[in-house]
Subunit: 252 residues, 2 copies
């Protein structure tokens, strides 16, 4: 399993992915799920993948090839005129890979599925981010819900829903995503450290800010442990539910 | 969808279920998912269901019939010698219903699946609780993980994992389960109020303490709103993640 989140802030976009992949609990491996492309002073694109590893690697491979082969250059990530066109290209490529694998392989539907988050900035357009479904269609991040998730999304969602705010800075944004991953990793063994992080600052057209959080990262431990204590304090701060003030249920 | 949780405490067991059921988002209805049986001074059994409504209602129907027909009374919930035998009977009944529906109906596997939580006390045995799978087998609640969940379990799990403690009282236990439901209902529209609650006090052999939490329940609103504030305070109390103290990721 996989968990990836992108969070759009006023200052820019944070991308975080785990690095664990598995085919059954006894076949766990580390794979990168985050990829970036840059043209200095012009564009920066980050992409995160969840789902069938063969599908996502084939998709990334095709996208990469097109940036290299000069005759295909015009249909490459590095030539698209906007992030919307980037999302269209990624969606088309993903759909092609899945349908090709399906037509040659087993009939089991869903086996080759994958989802993708792609975000960044092209030229002076506003930075933005899309979530791409296996069918190749996609949705764009919004102000109301400034985060997109793929993979094992449920455990880490309540904290995002409760604590996100549009005007939080990178430091708080990184804390929020760390807590979302912490909740997921405590519940699902197939999502695991290290975490890959890319921070995109509006207008920078570069992903020079790439980080990796490992198990012995002091800030990660501080957030994870501190959160346990803070959560228990929060729990104690809320009054308990007294039975004598509840509405009795009348058995029919 | 459905969400049900049972939480075993030192004082007894709390059972909470939602009441929403749906076949698609435009076909939402309210159904009870919690059932109780009692023999005064002898036994009290609570049962919660998740999954295919036809399957769970047929299972409950069969279990109920056997408590009424005198010639089948010896194989009824009211005659089992222990909670373990109760779990065996429920598991056997559930498996029979599912396999019968499957053999007559569509081949689509999983369509008729359901899960059950059953708990309570028989005689002077220790109160206990089981989670029963569609295959009819089951697991018992443990001291390390004193809660069992069925249905839409993921959103509400992180708070249970983080905040449960074996020695919490009924008031805190009810608060914890309310928060777990609150997290789930904020993320998944197909889990909804009202909540059915049954509190079993060790040795009481009765479920006289049955409650229902509706949308305008003042304590529910207090917990839900108070939790938002407490969570934000907790979030602020944990230090943010500073980029300049993170380990840079070296692109290969």
């Amino acid at each position: 399993m996989t968990y990836c989140v992108g969070l759009k802030l006023e200052e820019g976009i944070i991308f975080v992915s785990d690095t664990r992949t598995n085919a059954g609990l006894d076949n766990v491996a580390k794979f990168r799920k985050m990829y970036t492309w840059e043209v200095p002073n012009e564009r920066a694109i980050a992409l995160m993948t969840a789902g069938n590893l063969a599908t996502t690697q084939a998709t990334i491979g095709l996208l990469n090839e097109r940036t290299k082969a000069s005759e295909q250059r015009q249909s490459s990530l590095l030539e698209m005129a906007s992030m919307f066109e980037v999302a269209q290209l990624v969606g088309r490529t993903l759909r092609e890979v899945i349908s090709e694998h399906r037509s040659h392989g087993m009939a089991a539907s869903g086996d080759f599925d994958a989802s993708i988050i792609v975000g960044g900035q092209v030229g002076s357009d506003a930075p933005t981010m899309f979530m791409i479904y296996p069918e190749g269609n996609f949705i764009e991040v919004s102000e109301d819900t400034p985060f997109l998730q793929i993979g094992e999304i449920k455990y880490g969602r309540p904290i995002l829903v409760r604590a996100h705010s549009h005007d939080m800075g990178f430091s708080d944004g990184l804390k929020l995503l760390t807590l979302s991953f912490d909740a997921t990793m405590q519940a699902n063994l197939s999502v695991g450290l290290p975490l890959d992080i890319a921070v995109y600052e509006n207008g920078s057209h570069t992903f020079s800010q790439r980080y990796r959080i490992t198990e012995d990262d002091p800030q990660f431990q501080q957030v994870s442990n501190g959160w346990g204590d803070a959560l228990r304090s929060a729990f104690d701060a809320v009054p308990g539910i007294e039975r004598d003030r509840l509405q009795p249920f009348i058995q029919r």
